[in-house]
């Protein structure tokens, strides 16, 4: 299955490990993720005020790129998959706004007159977890060569995979999609109260102390519930929960570090992919001591 893949800026920089592990593990499931030659930053956040047209240009442009891929027969459908939860949320919501608001649609077309085609509105935006769910957890389980036996994994959803209403990929109060993935990979699910609580998001730029407070709560609840590590689907969450642990330690000296990885990295590990597919080198804190100790890595 060839599906259009929208990376988002961070997947090419700080979160390259997310991309590498995702593409490699997708291949094992027969999915080819096709990146458009040309794409732009989606804007990360959806414009919530009603008179805003400008901030919809970036997402809609990317949806045009997906249509161009389909026109060129490089993909099988007008679906686009993203790995980043923020990109998912932004593309999906702008797609909706474009289709629901005729006036905005017209203005967007007017401004984007240099594009070769007018956006039809027919692209379907999916998060990779939805694609996995669609394929079936049985199929995912079949691809597992090294089940994550005994690994206690806390699923961290964050905000934008589940909210707002109508956009979330699962029930906002009681999601199970990441838990299903963990089970398919042979790991042990550690449920904890803060799995959908905000990490502090963009406040990490200028209010990192506040972010450290929030992230500390999330991590501590996961630790108290017995987790070995957390998995996430958003590069901003990963940054706030992972690399920001140095800041957390400054504010909470007795805090013990705990690894945070992308869900695709555990997929790559469970699928037995070795050639750099797990890409753990970029993760802070380093998960390899834990995984080696558990016999899941050499």
């Amino acid at each position: 299955m060839r599906i259009a893949y929208y990376p988002g800026c961070t997947l090419k920089t700080n979160a390259k490990n997310f991309e590498d592990s995702a593409i490699a593990s997708a291949k094992e499931l027969g999915i080819e993720m096709v990146e458009p030659d040309r794409w732009n930053c989606c804007g990360t956040v959806h414009a919530l005020v009603k008179d805003d047209v400008m901030h919809h240009l970036a997402p809609v442009r990317n949806l045009i790129r997906v249509e161009e891929l389909k026109e060129a027969d490089k993909v099988d459908s007008k679906q686009v998959v993203t790995l980043c939860a923020m990109c998912y949320n932004t593309l999906k919501r702008s797609n909706q706004t474009f289709n629901e608001d005729a006036d905005k649609k017209q203005k967007i077309h007017d401004v984007m007159y240099k594009e070769d085609i007018k956006y039809s509105g027919n692209v379907e935006v999916l998060h990779y977890l939805e694609v996995l769910r669609e394929i079936g957890w049985d199929k995912v389980k079949e691809a597992v060569k090294k089940p994550l036996d005994g690994l206690k994994i806390a699923p961290y959803y964050g905000c934008l995979l589940l909210r707002p209403r109508g956009i979330g990929i699962d029930n906002a109060d009681n999601p199970t999609i990441i838990e299903d993935l963990i089970e398919a990979l042979g790991g042990e699910v550690v449920d904890f109260a803060y799995k959908q609580k905000c990490c502090g998001a963009y406040h990490t730029v200028h209010m990192k102390e506040a972010v450290a407070d929030l992230s500390h709560n999330v991590l501590k609840y996961a630790q108290d519930a017995g987790a070995d590590l957390l998995i996430t689907a958003c590069p901003l969450c990963e940054y706030n929960l992972g690399p920001r642990q140095t800041q957390i330690k400054k504010q909470y000296p007795i805090f013990d570090s705990i690894p945070v990885v992308y869900f695709t990295q555990l997929m790559a590990l469970a699928f037995g992919l070795n050639d750099g597919a797990t890409a753990f080198e970029a993760n802070k804190p380093d998960p390899t001591p834990l995984l080696t100790e558990r016999g899941l890595m050499e």
Partner: protein
Amino acid sequence: MSSFGSNLVLRMNPADKVFKDRVNELSGENVDLCFQCGGCSSGCPMTQDMDYLPSKIIRMAQIGLEEALESRTIWTCSTCFNCEVRCPRGIDVTAVMEALRQMVLRKKHNEVSLDDLSAEELRELPQIAIVSNQRKLTA
């Protein structure tokens, strides 16, 4: 009942109604639907850094108190949509917060500046953080 003689009438100043209408227009919501249950505030992850609770901000919008624009609350909001999901009246509280931010930003106000970031911070911060920070908090 009437022996307690309450002749207190809360009348809205026309100017205050302009403010409320603008908030409603920008956010696409109707703040009058709010009955102050506090659900949004209870689910909000950032309240410890706020001066007014989210539900209080909605109340201020309802009665046309432009003071809401001077709160720290609207800038401390992390746009997590927890309030939106929990509101029993279906109000997108996140959108109301954004409308209030926009009303300030559109007056050439920038809450944060890239000029304040060091080279090291810029090297380490992922694009997703800087882009969203600028989008939410600058003009």
